[in-house]
């Protein structure tokens, strides 16, 4: 049973560019959450998607946007990249109604130069 799959694993972008990160949730999960983890820090909640809608959002600017598809997979888009956006981006999937089975992917390491 595949867990949470994220792509790509590593990415290098130039300041000002746009980037799209992808996440496939664990089988049976319909809710996807995204986190940003800067070097040496704990993950910070970006937003959560359920039924193709953004349900909750953390303290991140509008440059961060997302999408969830009918098959529950999700994308995270970041526009106008800043050097400070360099981080590990983690996707987590879960069943709708509880924290049981909350599963993280291995993340996408984004470097902005």
């Amino acid at each position: 049973d595949a867990g949470v799959t994220q792509s790509p694993t590593h990415l290098i972008k130039t300041r000002g560019q746009q980037v799209t990160l992808r996440c496939s949730p664990k089988s049976g999960h319909d809710t996807v959450s995204w986190y940003q983890q800067a070097l040496g820090q704990g993950p910070q909640f970006i937003f959560q998607y359920y039924e193709e809608e953004e349900r909750q959002r953390g303290n991140f600017p509008d440059r961060f946007s997302g999408h969830q598809f009918p098959n529950y997979s999700s994308e995270l888009n970041v526009n106008a990249l800043l050097l400070g956006d360099s981080a590990l981006y983690l996707c987590a999937s879960s069943p709708r109604q509880g924290t049981y089975g909350y599963t993280f992917g291995s993340g996408t390491r984004l470097t902005v130069v």
């Binding site: 704990g42 993950p43 959560q48 349900r55 953390g58 709708r96 109604q97 291995s106 390491r109």
Partner: protein, 119 residues
């Protein structure tokens, strides 16, 4: 607002020593879950233990044990007889319920504690 504090930034031990990681949390929610995750260099967060706010019974699972004290808002985690493979960053996390959507999911993480186990 929720907050999770891990005051220890790094702990170094020799193999077979016990390691205790401290976690203090703040939340106004009456229903919440507390977690410990392990993050090896590969980056994936590995689930270790979960405790809900109504259950203060402390347990042992293999080499892992935890001490949940609601009165002091602490959720400490102990690795007994540490091994080199335990070297990783350990995160304490809190998950409460979204009142607006009656759903779970938002995790508030601490800053993490780096555990280094040497042979």
């Amino acid at each position: 607002a929720q907050k999770v504090t891990q005051a220890q930034t790094e702990i170094s031990v020799v193999e077979k020593e016990d390691v205790t990681l401290d976690c203090v949390y703040e939340t106004r929610d009456t229903t919440y879950y507390l977690f410990w995750y392990k993050q090896p260099p590969s980056g994936e967060l590995v689930f270790l233990i979960r405790r809900n706010s109504f259950d203060e019974q402390n347990e042992i699972s293999g080499r892992y044990s935890w001490n949940f004290q609601k009165s002091t808002s602490s959720f400490n985690f102990t690795i007994t007889a540490s091994q080199v493979v335990d070297s990783a960053v350990y995160f304490c996390a809190l998950s409460a319920r979204f009142l607006t959507t009656d759903s779970w999911g938002k995790f508030q993480f601490g800053a993490g504690t780096q555990v280094v186990v040497t042979p």
